[in-house]
């Protein structure tokens, strides 16, 4: 079982593309590519020809006013929805329309906006569900290969514990997840996602309804993880937060990509200003 | 999926034509089956209205519903027997009240039918409805309401307990005989000639159509024209919203049980009147068919329940044209399973309006 240390730290010289479609052609440097994504519900076009690329080891924010299509795009990437047309490519593989578990299996893992902890299970159990391809998940092995399964369980237990320590919630290890406070659940959500050994994490409004102290703590952890080599795509409402923390920002409006680039670039972009001030909530 | 279903439909239709043309199946026979199916369908639909409404408003599948039907039937027929046979020096009140338990009194001997003993029948009808209303209110108040917040599955399990308790109490009191409530052939009817044979139509067929149709019409007016009906539709659509807008939900819930219970009791009574026999298991045997009808029509939709009832009744009855009679009811279940797999929200997508 590889630990998070094994994820390769991104090449410091990698070109962090600043505008849409600026090359960054090497698949290894650009794990996620979205092209011409389109999704309609009934008569409403929620996502209209959206496309962008995410560089490895980067922290990118996806923002936009309500109804911009952020969530739908998010869900199309993670397999919850199947887009009407368009391509989602991860590490060079076309993953459009794959089921959620298949997407997660390839290293593209999401969290949920309202933290969905497995409430009748303890925090540790929650964590230990996460690692993929566990030996003991085979029905046969769980009954007949107890020794092998136990060995791996011990490894998983250790990894789980360490991750809990990283988030400073190891004192809750044996607590029922349902008894956790909202903030603790958010931390658990992220910790659990980490244990799947992902390449890239898609965070769905992780800061929604979060108090400033917790927000800071979450950000600290996310930055640290990014320094370890994880790639983040964060969908958020809170524009300032994204501007202050992400090196690249993608702005959506009415289903389309309005613009993308560095925070300064986006901040000064007239279309963006209009979109946010022009009548939307 | 739809392509497959259409294909199957076409195959069945072609086979039907084949049977009619070769004389394997008489047109009159087919019409007889269709009539039979529609009659059953009316009963299923009538009983299904109540189930559909409570399923939608209270969010649980009430497995005791079948036994409400049985309870209504027994109570109503007890009264009918008493009135039909209870006057006279040698009337055996006890066994009349128990609807001839132990084979002591025979319905046929009492000559019960709607023209012969109209008072007995009408009184039984009314009592069936009223008792079932009482039963429904009682079980809701003391058994379902206290745990309403527990969720659909605990309520479902509880309703199974209610079903057991009710059914075996009825069995204990009325024992296990199947009674003949009307003597075969004693009900006036006609046998109109249709092409190659006759289709038997009895007065009780007509009466069933009258009662069921009338009640369904009544429910229609209730839903569309009265404030209560509007409130019920609103609650069925979205309960939290209904609460916020000030609809008195407890009253609506109670009304749902009353209407549903009344219709169910009458359906039970009419079913027995129509088929001429009464047994402690009658309601339970109908239950799955009623679920099939409600699911097909869309949970929460009254019109769906009616239409679903007719379709399921027809399916169960006419299935014998294509498959051996032992599997006729299985055909209706297969329809239900298909609906759940292909379009779980049913035909009318759970709306109380058409």
């Amino acid at each position: 079982m590889s630990e998070s240390d094994d994820v390769t730290v991104p090449d410091a010289d990698a070109d962090v593309g600043l505008d849409a479609g600026s090359g960054a052609a090497d698949v290894a440097d650009v794990p996620l590519k979205v092209r011409d994504l389109r999704k309609t519900f009934g008569g409403i076009t929620a996502v209209d020809n959206a496309g962008f690329e995410i560089e490895k080891g980067s922290m990118t924010g996806l923002i936009g006013p309500n109804g911009a299509g952020k969530s739908t795009t998010f869900n199309c990437i993670t397999g919850t929805y199947t887009p009407d047309s368009g391509v989602v490519e991860f590490n060079g593989e076309d993953i459009t329309g794959l089921k959620p578990y298949e997407v997660a299996d390839r290293g593209l893992v999401r969290t949920f906006q309202i933290a969905r902890e497995l409430s009748e299970m303890t925090v540790l159990e929650n964590m230990m569900v996460a690692p993929m391809h566990q030996r003991g998940e085979s029905l046969w092995k769980s009954v007949f290969s107890r020794k092998d399964v136990n060995d791996q369980e011990a490894e998983i237990l250790e990894r789980a514990w360490e991750t809990l320590e990283f988030f400073d919630i190891e004192h809750l290890a044996n607590e029922y997840a349902g008894n956790l406070s909202g903030g603790q659940r958010k931390l658990l959500e992220l910790a659990r996602a980490l244990l799947t050994d992902p390449e890239m994490l898609l965070l769905d409004e992780p800061f929604a309804g979060v108090n400033p102290t917790l927000e800071e703590r979450l950000l600290e952890h996310i930055h640290e993880l990014r320094n370890e080599g994880y790639t983040f795509l964060i969908v958020e409402h809170d524009m300032d937060l994204i501007m202050q923390n992400c090196e690249k920002v993608i702005v959506m409006h009415q289903g389309r990509i309005l613009t993308e680039g560095t925070p300064e670039h986006v901040r000064n972009n007239e279309d963006v200003i209009e979109a946010y001030l022009g009548g939307e909530v | 999926m739809t392509a497959a279903l259409v294909f199957i439909g076409v195959v069945l239709l072609l086979d039907l034509l084949r049977q009619l043309l070769t004389g394997d199946l008489a047109i009159s026979g087919m019409l007889g089956l269709i009539k039979d199916g529609l009659m059953r369908g009316l009963v299923i639909g009538l009983a299904g209205i109540g189930l559909s409404m409570t399923y939608s408003i209270l969010n649980f599948a009430n497995f005791a519903h079948g036994d409400y039907i049985t309870a209504g039937a027994f109570s109503g027929w007890s009264v009918t027997y008493l009135i039909a046979g209870g006057f006279g020096a040698d009337a055996n009140i006890g066994s009349l009240a128990l609807v001839g338990a132990g084979g002591s009194v025979f319905g046929g001997a009492l000559g019960i039918n709607v023209v012969n003993t109209p008072l007995a029948v009408l009184a039984g009808l009314v009592v069936a409805g009223v008792l079932t209303i009482g039963l429904a209110l009682f079980t809701d108040r003391f058994i379902f309401k206290p745990i309403r917040d527990s969720g659909g599955i605990p309520l479902l399990i509880t309703s199974i307990g209610v079903a057991f308790a009710l059914r075996y109490l009825i069995l204990f009191m009325f024992d296990s005989d199947t009674r003949g409530t009307t003597a075969a052939g004693s009900v006036p009817g006609i046998r109109p000639l249709v092409l190659d044979g006759t289709v038997p139509l009895t007065l009780h067929d007509g009466f069933l159509v009258l009662v069921a149709g009338g009640l369904m019409l009544g429910v229609h007016f209730l839903l569309q024209r009265t404030k209560l009906g509007k409130a019920m539709r609103a609650m069925s659509d979205d309960e939290s919203l209904a609460r916020i807008t000030g609809i008195p939900t407890e009253r609506v819930i109670r009304s749902t049980w009353i209407i549903g219970g009344g219709l169910t009791g009458v359906a039970g009574y009419m079913f027995v009147l129509w088929k001429g026999t009464l047994s402690w298991n009658d309601g339970w045997l109908l239950l799955l068919l009623i679920f099939a009808a409600v699911i097909l029509g869309g949970i929460g939709s009254v019109y769906g329940a009616i239409l679903g009832g007719l379709v399921i009744g027809l399916t169960a009855s006419t299935a014998v044209i294509w498959i051996p009679s032992g599997f006729a009811r299985a055909a209706a279940f297969v329809v239900m399973i298909l609906v759940l797999v292909v379009r779980p929200q049913g035909l009318f997508s759970g709306r109380s309006t058409a």
Binding site: Y101, T122, R146 | P146
Partner: protein
């Protein structure tokens, strides 16, 4: 860092919840609890019978029966716990899988139809019983697969309706004339229709003992040593002392119940292993939140199907063990009523707990299933077997004259119906007062090792460890 001395065995519940505490009594551990329960139940039956003066043979029969029912309902509750307690699959079609198990075993193992069997009967394929049993379990598992493929993605109450519809379809199929007899590859086989199937494949008990005897046979150079020498020669012989007339059926009762208790032990080990493992953990996770489980990369459909199929195979086996020794089997035995017995047993014990399932099965068998019948037996013996009124009406009449006795007799006589009424009431009461049953509140760790704090290994790099 928070305290570094890990508490051994701590699991996140109050200490009391974690231990084997039931009704306020602390038993120390699960085995003690189970043994106490069983001993207590048997004691009640024995004492009751002895005090009343039941003849020895009758009493022994009752105890043998009790053991049988305890085993059967405990096993059934365990299998259902896998479906519902672990995976959240609301299966109320249990009886259909039981029927499939026993019928297919019958078809496979009945002697081949030939001269000597009457024209109305059908025969079987004449395979050895153990092969037939394996086949029956496989058939039940396959039926489970067929049901699962379309239905597993349905929400719980819809799945419930589908499973019960399926069990009724099974019953219709067993009743049908079409499937009652046909020719397959030269064998005349069938399901027997409304008449049912005669299970003339020999005595399962004898088959089991003879199979167990194989190692001994090699040693002693005799076929069926365990059966001939030990069972018949020693055990039945010994019992013919206190029970001189025809002791074998009484011993058979006990012996078979003993076999079932062994199988129950096997069930318990199997299901506990499945549950306390990563596989079981995923099942629990699916029950909690299937979307999250998918988002973590698990193919939930495959897990659900596996769990369902294993449970159904076990239910098939129970059907075989329960109905396979009664000489014949008819379709109308397999009504949904039996499914609901098992649900009641599971709820009494507490869904989610394996020990609870066993306890629930035992309590159901002893007090709700056989208990009332035993009670009737006992009281009737005391009263000298009086005749009861033949109907409710007849029992009611004397009440107007102040005589309640006939009604009491009628109630006693109708215990078989009233116990079902009682079951309904008990179920309602449980859902109101103790929906978690005896042990459902106790969360059993879905992990194959105890979840204690791992020893701090200083070589393992922490991921940018934070200071407290």
């Amino acid at each position: 860092m928070s305290d570094s001395d890990g508490e051994p065995g701590s699991y996140g519940q109050s200490e009391e919840e974690e231990r084997a505490v039931v009704l306020g009594i602390d038993f120390g551990n699960d085995s003690n609890m189970l043994i106490t329960l069983l001993v207590g139940v048997f004691a009640i039956y024995l004492i009751g019978g002895v005090v009343i003066g039941l003849p020895f043979r009758g009493l022994m029969n009752q105890i043998g029966q009790l053991s049988f029912w305890i085993a059967v309902f405990a096993m059934s509750a365990l299998a259902l716990n896998l479906h519902w307690g672990y995976t959240g699959l609301f299966n109320i079609g249990i009886v259909g899988f039981m029927a499939t198990g026993v019928y297919i075993t019958g078809v496979l193992s009945k002697p081949v139809f030939g001269a000597g069997t009457s024209a109305a009967e059908v025969g079987g394929f004449g395979l050895p019983l153990l092969v037939g049993i394996a086949g029956g379990m496989l058939a039940a598992a396959l039926l489970g697969l067929i049901a699962a493929l379309p239905a597993l993605r349905l929400r719980a109450d819809y799945l419930a309706i589908v499973t019960i519809a399926l069990s009724e379809i099974v019953r219709f199929s067993l009743l049908s004339d079409t499937l009652s007899g046909t020719d397959i590859g030269g064998y005349r086989v069938g399901l027997g229709g409304g008449d049912g199937l005669i299970l003339d494949y020999g005595d399962p008990l004898e088959v089991f003992v003879r199979t167990a005897s194989v190692p001994f046979d090699l040693v002693f150079g005799q076929s069926g040593w365990l059966w001939e020498e030990v069972y018949l020669g020693v055990i039945v012989e010994a019992v013919s002392g206190p029970i001189p007339t025809n002791p074998k059926p009484v011993v058979d009762n006990f012996a078979y119940a003993f076999v079932l208790l062994l199988v129950l032990g096997g069930f318990y080990v199997l299901i506990t292993r499945i549950g306390s493992s990563p596989f079981g953990r995923v099942l629990k996770s699916i029950r909690e939140d299937e979307d999250v489980t998918n988002a973590l990369g698990k193919n939930t459909n495959v897990f659900k199907i596996k769990s369902f199929m294993v449970g159904c195979a076990l239910m098939g086996l129970i059907g075989i063990l329960w109905f396979g020794t009664q000489g014949s089997v008819t379709p109308n035995t397999f009504r949904p009523r039996i499914t609901f017995y098992i649900w009641i047993a599971l709820i009494i014990g507490g869904a989610g707990s394996n020990t609870g399932s066993v306890m629930g099965g035992a309590i159901f068998a002893a007090f709700l299933f056989q208990g009332p019948r035993y009670f009737k037996n006992v009281v009737e013996t005391v009263l000298g077997n009086p005749s009861a009124p033949s109907s409710f009406g007849q029992a009611m009449l004397p009440i107007s004259q102040g005589d309640v006795f006939p009604m009491l007799l009628y109630v006693l006589d109708s215990i078989r119906q009233l116990q079902l009424f009682l079951m309904g009431v008990v179920l309602i009461w449980l859902m109101h007062r103790r929906p978690d049953g005896l042990l459902g509140h106790r969360k059993e760790a879905a992990s194959s090792i105890p979840l204690t704090r791992p020893a701090k290994n200083s070589e393992v790099a922490t991921d940018g460890g934070e200071d407290q």
